[in-house]
Symmetry: C2
Subunit: 234 residues, 2 copies
């Protein structure tokens, strides 16, 4: 398939296992704009493949001769480049305020979900990524995956408390962005899709309003996130 847009998208050993929360933000933003994209399975250690972006992380979106990175910057690029498509932000105030939601997701939610799911990730990784992943993540957490795994009960309790403002928001309106999903939802949902694809841990109680919002997000964009491949035992 040829496409104008190409996305380097983190994959496991299985090319079809796409689990990066930040890449999922971009996938959903592209779907929101109804933009076709060719996704390219990429592994943590394939820094050379994205060298033209002058940094080493995905998502990297290639648009003609532009190599874009950082999920937020990619969202702003898509909004500004395709202003006639369904808006990711609604208006300048909506964009600015979605930035806060994005920062909360990246700085508060992602670490809280990581404490639950990180020990499940090595099992799905490509062999060439396993050492890199364990070394960098254990250094970031300051403890081994085995210790993190033993703390899962605590991690789930912390995550539950962390979700309070999301929970009350989606109790009062269908989506973070209101009546329909938009980038404020993409920014947050990436973390839940990450967990769904690579872990069998149940993050939420079924009767949690956040669960209902996750279900709505799985249905959005013709079920894009729901149809994604998950780890074998999930």
């Amino acid at each position: 398939m040829s496409a104008d847009l190409r996305l380097f998208d983190l994959a496991g050993a299985d090319d079809d296992l796409r689990f990066s929360p930040n890449c999922w933000r971009t996938r959903l933003a592209l779907a929101h704009k109804e933009l076709p994209v060719e996704t390219i399975a990429w592994r943590f250690t394939e820094k050379n493949a994205i060298a033209k972006s002058d940094q080493g992380k995905v998502p990297v979106l290639v648009a003609g001769d532009k190599w874009l990175y950082e999920s937020w910057d990619i969202a702003e690029y898509l909004e500004d480049t395709y202003p006639d498509r369904s808006s990711l932000f609604g208006c300048p105030q909506g964009r600015a305020t979605a930035r806060f939601v994005n920062q909360w997701a990246s700085e508060v939610l992602h670490p809280a979900v990581a404490r639950v799911v990180v020990p499940d990730i090595p099992a799905v990784l490509h062999e060439k990524d396993k050492d890199y992943f364990r070394t960098t993540r254990e250094a970031a957490f300051g403890r081994t995956f085995e210790v993190i795994a033993a703390e899962r009960g605590d991690a789930l309790a912390v995550l539950n408390r962390t979700l309070a403002p999301l929970r009350s928001t989606v109790s009062k309106q269908p989506f973070v962005a209101g009546a329909a999903p938009a980038y404020a939802d993409h920014a947050v949902f990436g973390a839940f899709q990450w967990a769904r694809v690579i872990s069998s841990a149940a993050l939420l109680e079924d009767n949690d309003p956040v669960s209902s919002w996750v279900e709505r997000m799985l249905d959005a964009y013709d079920g894009l996130a729901r149809s994604a491949k998950r780890m074998a035992s999930a």
Copy 2:
């Protein structure tokens, strides 16, 4: 002064000491809409004065025969009733996303600031409020003001971490709502004004980007928040 709008506004023993974070949200929203308001000094135990609102907390905004309460609901009322004035939200997505910011402020930021400043509040309260305040707040915290005061160092460290998503947001743009302040800022700033009016505790380092945003908020609306009376020793 006669005005179409009257606001029951929490006060200390001094009528002019107005310190409720939720009332400050409403004061700023009214200023944003350039709506004059008559504020009425109110104490925690004056439930009768706001009985027509069918609940016992302020802000209560009286608009003709309407008795409105809950700072968020008052903001939506002002936006919908005065659509031709400067918008509090910008667009429906902006309103929905500001709701998340509001919930984060109420559920995460307010408790974190309360742990720092609550022990300073009794000193400024009207005599008739002191027992009520201590009894209800110590029950909510599950410990005495003396214990909370002894934990201030820990509380400041927790608050510092809590501010991460606000800090990164206002490092990237002047206000939470973008180029100019709007309700997403009012919702968050109320907590800082609360601390400023009733406590001499320094919540932030001078070089914290959040401090710069607080200064911008103090200047906004002709310096409305900066000109507010503070406790004698603050």
